[in-house]
Symmetry: C2
Subunit: 412 residues, 2 copies
């Protein structure tokens, strides 16, 4: 690791807040933040994210030491930026693990915001992360999947002035304040939370399941299955923050398959199996792909069954072919699980819309998923179907029982 | 004012951090935040933003007390939401003024995020504002024009759980930490900052002007004239944080006129005149309207002179007609100023692109602006043209002199 560190003399003895910035353009501002952090009683650990040679390994092939980033072509620049991210993560993660790094604060314009976001995604959730950015209105999309606190810089980060000093002073106060109260201290926490996925059209049954699990003594956190929620969930499972998961709503897989807007990526539904935590799986809202305004639905789907949820949200019913593909890929993921899994299926519709009589009712498409799943799922995984819609209270009770049976008896 | 306040018994004696949420759905979570704030030594002041009758004036015509928001139609709901914003602002602003309210923290989903954003925009910049939101990826657009710190809620804000408790604990720590170091204490600060507007194609000259002003002892803050920057600037002038302004780049007015993407609204260039602060005005980048990808340029402009800045940014040259409209509206705004104004004009192009030989060079269009401005501007306002491009160092020196002459001799 060779991303440049400064002022780290006393490292093994102290706890730190890392200050990340491209020091070639934002060094003075970063040092101002570090001084504020020091004045508040915590040591700053400076990490230089500049793309110039000084902050990259000398063996880095993309450019020779001292070459400024302006001379790099787009591809070389991309490689250099990725190198900075890798170096910084490699330097910081051991300090997180040994408990000496308690928080991060970054300063960035366009480039610095991207660099910080990529680094932040590699640092466990729970470690306070604060980013002062000139791009506050759209930094959220860069930062998706991290728990970074975003502070708008108000003015450009291009020289200290009275306004920027005040913004930086408050940001330093915020990160020190968050670090002071954070319970995460580097060592893996006792994962005590049960995660649940929910969506508008699966909410009624979902709330019944949540109540049942809470009555059984579980601490339940709900994630909206809107793409962002699923990504966050997978990431929290990887960080071992989630102890068990009730996948009430696996709809994000549909959007990943059909290019809908609520995809959580192709790796959705993998983390729990890899982590070996108990996992209940219900095909919640697999009847639905999500699009925006009606004219945003891709041309190839114009002949499909569409439902205008609001003027800004158009839903599309999945067909039997989609369902077979979905069942195949879900079965493969679940078959690879190293922990306990159970699949429970509501035969009378996977969402509010596909109950008998509903606009998305399709016994044929649902049966395609059920039959494929039954055929492909490993025989050691319990699989049961029930004559209910997903939102029937009886079905929630069945799902709750199936889920509780997966848990080690001590965990409830 | 009748937005519901709780626990305000000792108000006149203490300092507070306000905790804002729709208590009908997020009351437990808000109280958890308030308890954390109290544990850190500051008193919480709860503000209920629920739309139901309890938090709205009984004389409010849109619904009777106790009517939940779900029964409201869209228009009535809009009125009710605006009422909540007005009530909360009316309640909080006097507490900001007398120095007892030191910060705000809000919790929100879709509705709560909008309500908090509208309230935050009315609270002076510099008062720490923190929002915990389920919509972190797009909250930035709601919050544009405020200095709110955004904390992603990770899970839904629908019941406390181990994860959400940790997020709320850190958010409470962040707002208390920011309040502890904030210099703003309610009373108007001594406005000591000189604001400057800049843009990529006016940067070379802008940096020369900035250096000259800093050499003269001014504390200069740069705002990117990209829509967001201009809105922020107008808002800071209204809050009396800015002492003087060098409008090097007034290009946002073009985008407001021609439906470009970098508009700061029709009121851009009004605040300084109303506040009576010294104001230098240069027609920086008035040659340019900003659009996204080439296919996003409105149909009616396809025959205009276009320049592909990057694949994602298409610029359009303003014509003489646009320039006359712009000059008329700018002259009207400047004529209404109650403080000193000076207009200096680079005759050889208002940006890098419209220098002689550049892709946007148009002596005719520039002359249309110059002639209209000269004719419409009140004779008491100094107006001078110079045989330079905006980025020539000589022009920056001229502009610096003109600006420094506007300042009271004590302020430098």
């Amino acid at each position: 690791m060779t991303t440049r560190f400064m002022y780290e003399a006393e490292r093994p003895m102290a706890v730190y807040i890392a200050v990340l910035a491209t020091f070639d353009t934002k060094g003075r501002e970063a040092e101002f933040v570090g001084e504020r952090i020091a004045a508040l009683g915590t040591k700053p650990l400076y990490v230089d994210l500049s793309l110039d040679g000084s902050s990259l390994p000398s063996e880095e092939p993309v450019h020779s030491p001292g070459t400024g980033d302006r001379s790099l072509g787009p591809e070389a620049k991309r490689v250099a930026m990725q190198g900075v991210v890798d170096n910084a993560a490699a330097a910081l993660l051991p300090l997180v693990k040994d408990g000496s790094l308690r928080g991060l604060i970054g300063l960035g314009g366009g480039q610095g915001t991207w660099l910080f976001a990529e680094i932040a995604k590699r640092i466990p959730l729970g470690i306070p992360k604060v980013l002062v950015t000139t791009l506050a209105t759209r930094a959220g999309t860069y930062l998706e999947g991290s728990d970074t606190i975003v502070v708008p810089s108000i003015t450009d980060i291009a020289g200290l002035n009275g306004l920027l000093r005040e913004v930086l002073r408050r940001a330093a106060g915020a990160v020190v304040g968050a670090v002071a109260v954070a319970s995460y201290r580097g060592a893996p926490q006792h994962a005590a939370v049960t995660a649940m996925t929910m969506f508008g059209v699966t909410t009624r049954g979902g709330m019944a399941l949540k109540s049942a699990l809470e009555e059984a003594g579980l601490d339940v956190a709900v994630f909206h299955a809107n793409g962002n929620g699923g990504m966050m969930l997978e990431s929290l499972i990887e960080d071992r923050v989630v102890a068990s998961v009730a996948e009430w709503t696996t709809t994000e897989l549909v959007d990943d398959l059909l290019d809908g807007i609520a995809t959580a990526g192709p790796d959705r539904l993998r983390a729990a199996g890899r982590a070996g935590i108990p996992q209940l799986v219900v095909p919640g809202a697999l009847d639905i792909a999500n699009f925006g305004r009606r004219d945003s639905v891709p041309e190839r789907y114009r002949g499909r069954r569409l439902h205008e949820h609001t003027p800004a949200a158009t839903l599309m019913r999945t067909n039997a072919d989609d369902m077979r593909v979905l069942a195949n890929s879900m079965a493969a993921k679940l078959n690879a699980s190293i922990g306990p899994v159970s699949v429970v299926v509501p035969e009378r519709g996977f969402s509010e819309l596909s109950a008998p009589g509903g606009p998305f009712h399709s016994a044929e498409a649902d049966a395609a998923w059920i039959d494929t799943m039954r055929a492909e799922l490993h025989s050691s995984i319990p699989f049961s179907t029930h004559p209910h819609n997903i939102n029937d209270p009886e079905f929630a009770a069945i799902a709750a029982r199936a889920f509780l049976e997966l848990l080690p008896s001590t965990s409830v």
